[in-house]
Amino acid sequence: MATIVETPPVSPAAAEPKGGLWAWVTSVDHKKIGIMYGIAAIVFFVIGGIEALFIRLQLAVPDGTLVSEDAFNQLFTMHGTTMVFLFVMPIAAAFGNYFVPIMIGARDVAFPRLNALSFWLFISGGVFISSSFFLGGLPDGAWVGYSPLSAQPEVIRMDFWVLGLAILGVASLLGAVNFITTIFTMRAPGMTLFRMPVFAWMQLVVAFLLAFSLPLVTVGLFQVLFDRNFGTLFYDAASGGDPILWQHLFWLFGHPEVYILILPAMGIVSEVLPTFSRKPLFGYQFVVFAGAAIGFLGFGVWAHHMFTAGLGPVAETAFGLMTMTIAVPTGIKIFNWVGTMWGGNISFPTPMLFAIGFVAMFTIGGLSGVTHSIVPADTQQHDSYYVVAHFHYVLFGGAVFGIFSGVYYWFGKVFGRQLNERIGKLHFWLMLIGFNLTFAPMHILGLNGMPRRIATYGDGLGWNYWNFVATVGSFVIALSILVFLINAIRSYRKGEPAGADPWDGRTLEWTTSSPPANYNFAEVPIVEAVDDFWYKKYGEDEDHMPVRLDTNPLDPSALDDDGEFHVHLPSPSYFPILLALGIVTVAYGFLWIPVGFAVMALGLGIMLWAIFGWALEDIDHPMGGDDGQGGGHGDDDDPGSEVSEQVPAGIGAGSGGGE
């Protein structure tokens, strides 16, 4: 028997520390963290989807009795919260983590351990909120958590929501700081800001939106938390408090949040469309500036969510106008995407189908969105199914289609094997049909007066038919997701090998092996143009048509030689997960004060241990061992490719304790 066993060939990947769970838990590698983000987000996507199916089953026929009113409140609250905070945001973070450093030619993010902390805080927050299912019921105050409803202190459900969102907020804020720093300081030589792929640009805008909007909702969350637990009167109208303040604070975050959800998808589509049109992105600078403009304007339109709150005609007019203005940069982007495809040499693999689906569905959602800027019309549409239809066209038809475009585009890069094209196309068409079947009827339902967030409705209101259609559609979507999951698992096991550059790509990630080596690039690339990789592969003939050059600009790590590259990388650390554990322990303790004080003390102890361990950790020789055991990422001291000086210790001690 022993003779059959062969020594595996020594490759750069074999130099990694021993695999298994511990390697993932302590990993500070942006690619591993990206994969973990992605898988966790998909799990939450399935959970949020099941919640949606329950909602649709309950509403399939009038006077539905599948779930109680109480359960229905929990379902729609957690459907929204899960999809926004635990699916779309983290899966955008997954792409951002995995690809932004590679796209800008860096070997990791600026603060690898802080990155790990962001991820583990996201997991902690998600598990914390979801665990309320076993501890008194899921939150039931809607994903917007309006006061005074959310400030009712009777049950602790909304405490779970408030504290969970606060934890998720810290996670996103740290991620935002990390990505701002990474993009500003870690770009490869020649990678000027205006040579960055649009996806990296959109992640930069998102990072700024997060950094500036999250603190505002955090203020509101603290106020609700204090109202619920310490008797403050922020939202107590009887004592002079003003529940409208919550709406302002929430939507000051909530509207930028909409762009936080959609901009990464726009970035993905801006990568996919040029690749499969074999043309540069039409009007690169315009797409970038439009993205930044959306980010700026996004802070000036929050009150269009509050047109029925009685702000007065001046404020309503101003916010209505600002809302119309936002359609301009959005329209620029749509025209640029269409212009990219115009006259291109277009092929239609699955990522391209999803990207085109994105453009079409998002345009419909955008058009119904502009109707909200007209205040009298919005007053009619407010809190009706018309709004539900609108934002699902933007967030599902937009963000989710864009995300799946990215999944099909980059799956091969991440896992080394391509997703199956035939099953992928089945997934796309099922999803497109199911999506329109579910959400298009909601426009009609809303205009016929059906309010959102009602647990049931009477017969004879004219809502029966379209509600049933929507329910059928939702199961078609569920089927499409099932098809996707089967495709993902099947292709991961025995899909076609991707090779370094399966789509004839344009950006730096395609110069690396699939999956990329743990150090990304054996040689840091020198960038000379937008779509640098393309122009190193192709020249132009006299008709400006691309002509393949006789070059091979792949990174040495992707070439088929047995070279070993010693690149010094930051070592794994268990302090990030420990700190996240400490924080979530404090949050659990808070829910059962005074008994919880002991738990909180325990959590604080863990936090202190983690913070000081983190600050004092020797990142070259971590986890106690001075050699061998921990610093497995190539233990040589090759100064030529040293990146550790770009990855210093310590910032976490300040920011971790600051919030």
Partner: protein, 194 residues
Amino acid sequence: MAIEASQPAASTLDIRKTAMWAFLASELMFFGGLISTFLLYRARTNGGPGSEELFDIPFTSVSSFVLLMSSLTMVLAHNAWERNDERQLRLWLVATASLGMVFLGGQFFEFSTFVHEGLKLDTSPFGSSFYLLTGFHGAHVAVGVLMLSAMVIISYRVGLTKARGMNVELVALYWHFVDIIWIVIFTVVYLLQV
């Protein structure tokens, strides 16, 4: 291998300072939210005491002065760090932390006086927003004092002028930020009695 030689990153920004600035920008919005809330609720006293009856401007001016002086000692500490003068550095770090603690003591005294005079967290929206705003600022000062103390300990054990970790410059940035926020709070909350 010319590639290897010409390898500096495209940017010359210090990554930790960039991160700290981004974080502080975010903090600015956090305090912006808290200050806005206070401005909304400053007159809503719900039958409890209002700012005119409670605020002792001379006292708070003194504690504000103490906090502002701590920025001066922080600058001196940073200067000593740049000169590699470990002893002076330690001295000014201790001075900064001490001034910070004096400020916190003043805040504690002020809070207990206000509670005694009838303004509690649950008295009125004015009280709630006042304590939340100044309390969060105090918490930031306290975190700053902790960081300064940690720096002093590191200075004794390793020596800050050689240590790589969280350096004096970052703590200084944070500390000055907290001071600047206090200038705004002192002006808006205490001095502008509309």
